[in-house]
Symmetry: C3
Subunit: 304 residues, 3 copies
């Protein structure tokens, strides 16, 4: 879990993912020699802060978003949200502005709900703040801010160790309206003819999806994937014997939104471990669900 811990500590609020992009690129450069197959690395100006790793003759692309939720400093001591963080007075927030490192606490006005910060000085307008990373590991769980989606990124990087054919796409802005998957998807479809996707992201523990019972295959969230594709995935998962759960939600979204609305016929399915304490500094995931997620992706990337 050292890699996961490192990933959780790198700040990458939506719109300013560059530090995590560099971390992932460094990781790939350092580790690819030990992978069974080496990918083509596509990461230039045409892709902003996104990265594509292309292995062999790809049939399926995995999308894992790099960015996280957070806050932007507005005027005075006001904050506005990046994405949809939970807000509780006292959450520790960190960042950096022209005067140096920032380490402050979140304030929430009892009456108006307006967000602010408590710090010994004013912070530069436009500074991004993210949750302080307090990474906690037990025998059975990991807990930290930003498991959504550093676990999805971790899953993708671990897959690289054995992946023979497939594409890994590290995307940006997922937590705040999207903005990179449209062009990643266009490039992938036009260059490689790939139009099957898996969304390597983290979902919710609910009354129907429980911690420790395997990663979730989402049958729908706010959008509905094509039934025929999801049925193929379910059949492969069932035959694999790997623990998994079926999720059905009426809300929530992912990088799949941009695939669904792309000008190409993408089939997609969200598959990810469930977490508790969603979008707080205390996101909690069961290690069995992480193992299930990685194992299921390995099988799917071979058989889809």
């Amino acid at each position: 879990m050292q890699l996961l811990h490192s990933l959780c500590r790198v700040p990458a609020p939506a719109g300013n993912e560059a530090a995590l992009t560099q971390f992932v690129l460094n990781y790939v450069h350092e580790h690819q020699a030990s992978w069974e197959h080496r990918p083509e690395i596509v990461a230039d100006d045409r892709f902003q802060d996104c990265i594509l790793l292309v292995f062999g003759q790809p049939r399926t692309a995995i999308f894992a978003h790099l960015d996280s939720i957070g806050f932007t400093v507005r005027y005075g001591r006001q904050l506005v949200r990046i994405g949809g963080p939970q807000v509780e007075a006292g959450y520790r927030l960190v960042g950096q502005d022209s005067q140096g490192l920032v380490d402050c606490t979140l304030t929430v006005d009892n009456e108006t709900g307006e967000l602010g910060y408590a710090f010994h000085r004013e912070i530069d307008r436009g500074t991004e703040l993210t949750f302080y990373c307090d990474f906690r590991e037990t025998v059975t769980t990991v807990q930290s801010c930003y498991l959504d989606n550093r676990l999805g990124v971790w899953n993708a990087l671990r897959l690289c160790e054995t992946l023979e054919h497939g594409i890994i796409a590290f995307s940006c802005w997922e937590e705040h309206g999207g903005g990179s998957v449209a062009y990643l998807a266009k490039f992938i479809y036009e260059t490689y003819g790939v139009r099957q996707a898996l969304i390597s992201d983290i979902t919710w523990v609910t009354e129907g999806v429980h911690a420790g019972q395997g990663c979730a295959i989402s049958l729908r969230d706010s959008l509905i994937p094509r039934r025929a594709y999801v049925d193929r995935i379910r059949a492969i998962a069932a035959a694999s014997g790997i623990a998994h759960q079926l999720e059905v939600e009426g809300s929530g979204g992912s990088d799949a939104k941009e695939l669904q609305h792309a000008a190409a016929p993408w089939d997609w399915c969200f598959i990810g471990a469930p977490e508790d304490h969603v979008h707080t500094p205390n996101e909690l995931v069961d290690k069995r669900d992480i193992e299930s997620m990685l194992a299921l992706y390995r099988v799917l990337m071979q058989e889809l």
Copy 2:
């Protein structure tokens, strides 16, 4: 109305339109020999469950969505909506899961509004349910679930009998956020240079649009089409002498949303018969408005 009845009975909730796709393809294969002109049929993996029929040298494309509203089985006896169905306790819902056919009734919690079903057993998670089809025809009306949009599909198939130049596009997911028109529109524009569209869909009886007074030409809904294009259509309609009404709404949408936001300069106009009891099992349309719709499309496809 036998064709319309058959269309209404085929289940095709958004995301699982395959049965209706097959029905339409079969219909085309069986009937095209009797049509004045035979189309090129474009329906392969690049188009998921959509179908394109290309006649002659097309200048205008008609979009008719195959999918319908419905419900997805969640956990326990919960349901979540597909699209925006009206909900009334007691509506009869049908479907199929691993244990066989399902024929149950909708329940609505009086306090929470939570949706569920009453059935003698639990239904598989993720199963789609649709309204039971009780097709009712009188001398002057037809009534059924899913006239929206099986009437739009019917209109398109009837047009095929005489159409010389034009494209018919049968789309998916319209009731649940869209997802196919973007790539259909891209293919049509890039392959045929066509960027004029008519939306063959069903609208609402309102204080300004009345049953029996002709199909509606929508001047706007939640989106606003380009005035110059709509004015051309109005002029053709006026000159034709075919009964029609002008609709102006501030809400509602259609496949036109994806055309409006496409990366191509689509002009579009929604033209369809109005219905009462929208998005219930009892959608009601006046036959005069159906006749007007078909007649107006025939003229427009010649003159636009």
Copy 3:
């Protein structure tokens, strides 16, 4: 300010921008001989009512939307909004229908908030109404309806006088959901390789952005631009010595929405003068902020 006054008087509600398109084209044809460099004018059927002016070897594109907010006549004496106008009973609205010119007043139902008009006759269904233009100029300010975005258009036209390299894109539908920037952006990116954008539009006077202190560089609104690009712009602005302010909002949008979601890696930044009395007939802008806006765009188009 004569040009600005003329621009404010031309009606161009979203979806019916043709009159303003023609005005701008006429202006370009009449004045380009006096410009330091002459642009390629791209304005044909592929671009609906939009216009592109391409100067030299462009690296950056400026987007200025032509359209405005307004109202559409519905049934009886009802109105529905085009975009998001403020509504106050008594606002003077003008338009034209089959019976001639319309000059009426807005009514607002006290209880329901329903919008209507007071006029001596019924107005044709579907007629667009816009605010009556009462253009007011003082030594320090201009005030009128539709400074949003005729000032953005004015800024772009004034830039043409000296622009050597760059693209000006006049867009449509910005106030009502967009619909032209997607195809303009695609054409610009594919034809010229340009993917840097500036949004020439008007923003709000707020507690953090004040009239008279220079035009605003927006660090974010409802969307978040890529930090690296905005930082480059801030550095150029700081070095220029031109007065400007930094804006941070959690809501609001612009033509940038379509760039952010385009299938190309656009970097964008909203830069514009702030106005008071937003979306009323009395939009008010300080002349110093107009000067600052034009000066800053001149520098940015050279240095970006």
